[in-house]
């Protein structure tokens, strides 16, 4: 399945809910909810950092590939500014640690990449020839015992 739309905040929900509905029968409710959360963060980042507002919303395409083995692969492509490698790698450690008692220093943003890494089973990212590609592979969660 393929979707294509201008990446702006007001359009993100329609895309993530469509993916949620399409993937739930394949990978189950929990894994598809996690995929929806990760996709929302990835699309927020593209809208905010990839296509800064002064240039207007840029195009994003999403390709969904269900697999026979209770897994799905989602490929997100955009032509905006790529994610800096250092930021992407820092996200591999999850959401950055903070002191819950220091209210004034709590993060109000910058959690998206960390969340994506925590929510998704397999992630790859590449940027070539002005085309950025984020590939998310998500498996069905084991049924609770």
């Amino acid at each position: 399945m393929d979707w294509s739309l201008p990446c702006e905040f007001s359009r993100i929900a329609e895309l993530t809910t469509a993916v949620r509905q399409a993937t739930e029968p394949v990978i189950g409710s929990e894994a598809s909810e996690m995929l929806e959360m990760a996709l929302a963060e990835a699309l927020n980042n593209i809208a905010e950092h990839g296509y800064p507002e002064r240039r207007g919303p840029g195009p994003v395409t999403l390709h969904l590939e269900p697999e026979a083995t209770h897994a799905v692969t989602v490929t997100l492509e955009d032509r905006g500014r790529p994610i800096p490698i250092a930021a992407f790698e820092a996200g591999q450690d999850g959401v950055a640690e903070f002191d819950p008692d220091r209210i004034e220093d709590l993060p109000e943003g910058g959690m998206g990449l960390g969340l994506i890494h925590m929510l998704i089973d397999e992630i790859s990212y590449s940027s070539q020839g002005g085309r950025n590609r984020l590939v998310l592979r998500q498996h069905r969660r084991a049924a609770p015992a």
Binding site: M37, N44, P107
Partner: protein
């Protein structure tokens, strides 16, 4: 932004009538919360039982309100489940916010 406001024992209870709190809603959510704090409400209960989905920008709006409250106030969040609960857990913001199952429990907690 659909928000219903009421008072229980002098505590401001805000019920959010939005099923999604994402980046398209976060600025309005932040404005609505900060507006109450600026108006002198320093004990807030935020009821998210109608909200099925929230992203990190929605959470950022809550954090922003907490910072505005500072040491003089408190905010409890109630009715979180599903993706919203998962967001609080993964970001470890469940250690920062008072999370209670429902409004009566949150009001009791804030009244001490």
């Amino acid at each position: 932004m659909k928000i219903e406001e009421r008072y229980e024992h002098g505590i401001c209870v805000l019920s959010v009538g939005e099923s999604r709190l994402d980046a398209s809603q976060a600025p309005a959510l932040k404005d609505a919360l900060v507006q109450r704090v600026e108006a002198g409400q320093h004990q807030l209960v935020l009821d998210l039982s109608q909200t099925a989905f929230m992203d990190s920008s929605g959470l950022g709006a809550l954090v922003s309100c907490l910072k505005r409250l500072g040491p003089r106030g408190n905010m409890a969040v109630v009715g979180v489940s599903g993706a919203v609960q998962r967001l609080f857990t993964l970001t470890r913001m469940d250690r920062v916010f008072i999370l209670e199952p429902d409004v009566p429990a949150a009001v009791a907690r804030l009244r001490g």
